[in-house]
Amino acid sequence: MSGQVGVQISGVGRLLVAVYGVLALAATGRSIVQVFTKFDQAPLAYALSVIAAVVYGIATWALIRSGAGAYRIAWVAIGFELVGVITVGTLSLAMPNLFPHDTVWSKFGMGYVFIPAILPIVGMWWLARHRPGVDVS
């Protein structure tokens, strides 16, 4: 990998890290506001917001780090996001009363121009092409 120690990601993959970083920041900020101001109104939705924020943070960190361990963590974090956005996205449309308050995943991430739905797919594509120790770039 590009001769650098401790950094897994290179080239266009850096965009992935940048977008993940911004999304982690946005989700964290939003969940802090929700938990501190109106947690009682929708504990499920806001607990999910916190979990989503933490997972985006983990994914960002795992994409930056090199090695097999970080690679596995990146897969788990990004897989969790895909499951989350599909599950919550579907439920928020099928049973809106379950999610009366928006989360980052509601309606497949519509409030974030669908980036939460697109990003895990791009992330998995990138991870599949960049296994640790195999340089295909």
């Binding site: 965009l15 940048a18 920041l25 501190f36 101001t37």
Partner: protein, 122 residues
């Protein structure tokens, strides 16, 4: 929040974002121009912080959640320095694209801040 100032700030961040994206996709490395554009975006955010701190004392209050406003503002303030640092460490054209993404993110956040200040809760 002063409305015309927020819109000017939004326009500058949007222009800086499109400039950096275009130059990055045209394979330019981060330059004085692109990093400088992000520095301008950051300077305007700092000015916005000063405005937001003073405005309530002269009767210009946020209609929406003040906490939410400051979470956006502090978040936005963090983005350009990280992107610029990245651009200095990583001399590739992708760093220029990252500068563009950073500026566009700030533009979106400024727009949200303006909404929180002027229309939320009305």
């Amino acid at each position: 929040m002063i409305e015309w100032f927020a819109w000017a700030q939004f326009a500058v961040a949007l222009a800086a974002g499109l400039l950096c994206l275009t130059l990055g996709l045209a394979r330019r490395l981060p330059s004085d121009l692109t990093v400088g554009a992000l520095a301008l975006v950051e300077a305007l955010l700092l000015a916005q912080l000063v405005v937001a701190l003073i405005a309530p004392t002269v009767g210009n209050r946020a209609t929406g959640s003040v906490l939410e406003f400051y979470v956006y503002l502090v978040g936005a303030l963090l983005i350009p320095p990280f992107a610029a640092l990245w651009g200095l460490l990583e001399r590739t054209r992708w760093s220029t694209v990252v500068l563009g993404i950073a500026a566009l993110s700030v533009a979106v956040m400024v727009y949200r801040m303006l909404q929180i200040w002027t229309v939320q809760g009305v």
